[in-house]
Every structure is written in structure tokens, then in C-alpha cells.
Symmetry: C2
Subunit: 123 residues, 2 copies
């Protein structure tokens, strides 16, 4: 099981990857067979090829993430964070909570994002 | 599928139930066969009898919840919220994120709480 600090460092690196426009550093956090569901209720992405495309598009969009509080751990291999996404090019703000599971190597195996139409606003 | 507003109203009622010391109003939000994992990585509670005892104890402890930002929805039947738990009697503060799934009747079917030892602090 990854340590709490390993998981929290990975999620801070995830936020930093967006800040630095560095999609590859975000993608490198994921396991080969990872699953991404963003947002919850939309079709899942399976594996690094699909997940890589997703994050390259997301980082290219200029999205910037600001944590709404500290990253949370758990008593197991899960962690979560609440944050605000700013998409300046679209004048759009999204309030989201992302929930992650990690494998023993400290790689992300699942990411599920909670945000819906009502969590988006202009400005 | 419940509406986004139904899920968000339920989660605000969850927070209010703690504020009002009203465990029964919190328990009434759950489906008969609901599952609670608090925190993630600890044994799951199955069904209203176990979940009822859990929330009666939690509310009796005097826990107060303050949202760290708006409740988040999804594109499906999931919602999440980040909040701070204050346990004045123990001089303890916990930063948590709870993730919920709802059934078609708008009742909570799963609640999984993300917080670990590192997310607790004195004061």
C-alpha cells in the first residue's frame, strides 16, 4: 500500500502538472491499466493511451487547478481533493472533487471526478 | 436517477442533521441496504441498523461539519463534498471528503469518507 504522503505528493504533482503545462508529468502518475471517469456518469477511459489523450487535451486547454483545501488521504489506498478549475479561454470555472485509488507502486489506478452542469459557472 | 438538486439538498440536510444534533434526520437519508465506509480502508457498514448506530454515535459525539466549498454533483447519481469536522470535546479537527451514490428514490446507497491519520489535528 502506498503511504499517505506518497499519495498526497502525487496529487500535488497532478495539480502542478497543469500549472506547468506539463501533461506528461500528469500522465506519468497513472498505472498502465488505470481507469478515469471524468465526470462520474460519463464513459470510462481505460488504459494509458486513452488517458494520455485526455490529459494532453486537458492541459492544452489551459486549465488551471487551485486546491480548495488540503488533499485528503484515507486508511487505505484512496485519496481525494477538492479544487477549482479555471478555463480562462472559455471564461469558465468548474468546482470539482476528484477521488483516486493507488496501487502498491504508488501509481494511480482509478480517478473519478465529481462535477456536473450545476458546478460550472461563467467567470 | 435523482436530480443534481435532490442530491445536493440531501447532502446539505446531512450537514444540517449534525448541526441540529438530529441523527435520525441523517439516517433517514440512507437506503435500507446502504453501505458506509468511513474512512476508506476501514470495514464497511452494511444496512440501516449498523449505519444507524454509526450516525447516532457520531452525532452524540457533538461533531459539527462545515462545508469547505459547494457540494459537487456529477453527470450521474454521485455527489461529493469537502468539509471540516470539529469535535470540540476531543479538541480535534478532521479534514474530510465524503463521496455518495444515490438510488432512483433519492436515497443514499453508498458513502465513502476520505480522511486519514494525517488529516486530523488538535484544535
Amino acid at each position: 500500500m502506498p503511504t499517505q504522503e506518497e499519495m498526497k505528493a502525487a496529487l500535488r504533482a497532478y495539480v502542478d502538472g497543469f500549472a506547468n503545462g506539463d501533461a506528461e508529468s500528469v500522465i506519468a502518475l497513472f498505472a498502465e491499466d488505470a481507469v478515469v471517469e471524468d465526470p462520474v456518469g460519463s464513459p470510462e477511459l481505460h488504459g494509458l493511451e486513452a488517458i494520455g489523450k485526455f490529459y494532453r487535451d486537458a492541459v492544452d486547454s489551459g486549465a488551471r487547478l487551485t486546491l480548495d483545501g488540503p488533499v485528503r488521504g484515507s486508511q487505505g489506498s484512496g485519496a481525494a481533493m477538492a479544487f477549482t478549475i479555471e478555463l480562462a479561454a472559455l471564461n469558465l470555472t468548474i468546482k470539482a472533487i476528484d477521488v483516486f485509488t493507488f496501487n502498491d507502486a504508488g501509481k494511480i489506478t482509478t480517478m473519478r471526478a465529481y462535477w456536473g452542469p450545476d458546478d460550472m459557472s461563467q467567470g
